[in-house]
């Protein structure tokens, strides 16, 4: 009789098994991956050309010499880097006479100036040109401090501190210089 009871109990368990399998769901996954590259974009300058106008006094005690030239500013709106640790750099090339003829004694054919890029990090990028009266000398580069976050801002560029080497008379004619602004990842020192 005991044996019989065990057989019945086993049958009941077998009969109950399908209920445990009821309603079996399943899930699947389609992963989606992509990348965004490090990107810096400078906004279009509010003025592509900065015209300093007449750079010498045409009368008075300083006639023929550098006049008082006011600061000139340009904005690069909507400039951004989409990553942390970027740096703004300015590279300034002094104004030199378009006429390449060497300046006679007592004259200069170059005007130095200071270019400042602001509103990016705590320290502005500053570069002051230092060419001689003949315009000889390399362009000057200056970098600001590191911006530790992705940033979108209107970068300001200001030209100031105009200076003629030796405060000499400037030869007549057109003068051309340039400032290049660069946004880039922080330079990593070589190991």
């Amino acid at each position: 009789m005991k044996t019989m009871s065990l057989i019945v109990a086993t049958a009941l368990l077998v009969g109950a098994a399908p209920a445990a399998l009821a309603q079996d769901s399943d899930s699947a996954k389609v992963s989606v991956t992509g990348q965004v590259a490090k990107l810096c974009v400078l906004g279009t300058p509010s003025n592509a050309v900065i015209d300093l106008g007449q750079m010498v006094d045409t009368s008075g005690a300083r006639v023929g010499k550098r006049a008082a030239i006011g600061n000139k500013s340009v904005t690069l709106p909507g400039s951004f880097c989409n990553f942390a640790n970027s740096v703004v750099t300015v590279n300034a090339t002094a104004l030199t006479a378009d006429d390449a003829t060497p300046a006679q004694s007592g004259f200069a054919r170059a005007v130095n100036f200071t270019a400042t890029a602001s509103n990016w990090a705590s320290t502005n990028a500053v570069a002051t040109t230092t060419v001689d009266r003949q315009g000889a000398g390399a362009a000057t580069t200056g970098s600001g401090s590191v911006q530790s976050l992705p940033k979108l801002a209107d970068i300001g560029l200001t030209l100031s501190g105009y200076d003629v080497p030796g405060d000499l008379l400037l030869v007549s004619g057109g003068y051309t210089g340039s400032v290049t602004v660069t946004l880039a990842p922080e330079a990593v020192p070589a190991p």
Partner: protein, 182 residues
């Protein structure tokens, strides 16, 4: 004499056999079982890999999401369900970037909308506005009994601020669930 008796007994036994046949009866052993409602993916993982997600150039849209690289991307899963009331749901989970957005000028999240089609039935979902790690599924579609492809398609992509995407790797997913309805 002894042999004769044995033969007689055998004959007697043969003659009596038909009397037992009349007492036979038929019994029935019932056999029953159940098949649980079940759904299963036989191909349960696929990956959509796209390249650069941000727009190039230098205009006002530079660095923002280029949704065209995601929209209409498709992958095929394979599965089956054995119950007529079986349903399919889609849970779209946004692509999250590795570099946090410092302000609303930037985005590090790309919301997805997606559809899944199985047995000519479509389920959809979108992740916009949903809290990270609390994503909900879209409305279920009744797919019934079927066995075959489950085609997943990205139907839309957007960013919360329409901002510039921060650099880095972005990963999201579209999860599809097949379930035999209760």
């Amino acid at each position: 004499m002894k042999k004769l008796v044995l033969a007689a007994l055998a004959a007697s036994a043969a003659i009596s056999t038909p009397a037992f046949a009349a007492a036979n009866d038929t019994g029935t052993v019932g056999v029953s079982g159940t098949v649980a409602g079940r759904c299963l993916f036989t191909t349960n993982s696929q990956t959509i890999t796209v390249g650069e997600l941000a727009k190039s150039g230098s205009d006002a849209n530079a660095g923002k999401l280029d949704s065209s690289v995601l929209v209409n991307q498709t992958k095929t899963l394979v599965g089956w369900c054995n119950k007529t009331a079986s349903t399919m749901t889609v849970t779209a989970k946004p692509m999250l970037g590795t570099t946090a957005a410092p302000n609303t000028s930037f985005d590090s999240r790309i919301d997805l909308t997606a559809s899944a089609v199985a047995n000519s039935q479509t389920a959809t979902d979108g992740s916009a506005g949903e809290t990270v790690n609390s994503y909900t599924a879209g409305s279920p579609a009744t797919v019934g009994i079927f066995s075959g492809n489950v085609v997943v398609t990205l139907t839309g992509a957007s960013t919360p601020n329409n901002g510039i995407l921060t650099e880095g790797t972005y990963t999201g997913s579209v999860d599809v669930t097949l379930a035999p309805a209760v």
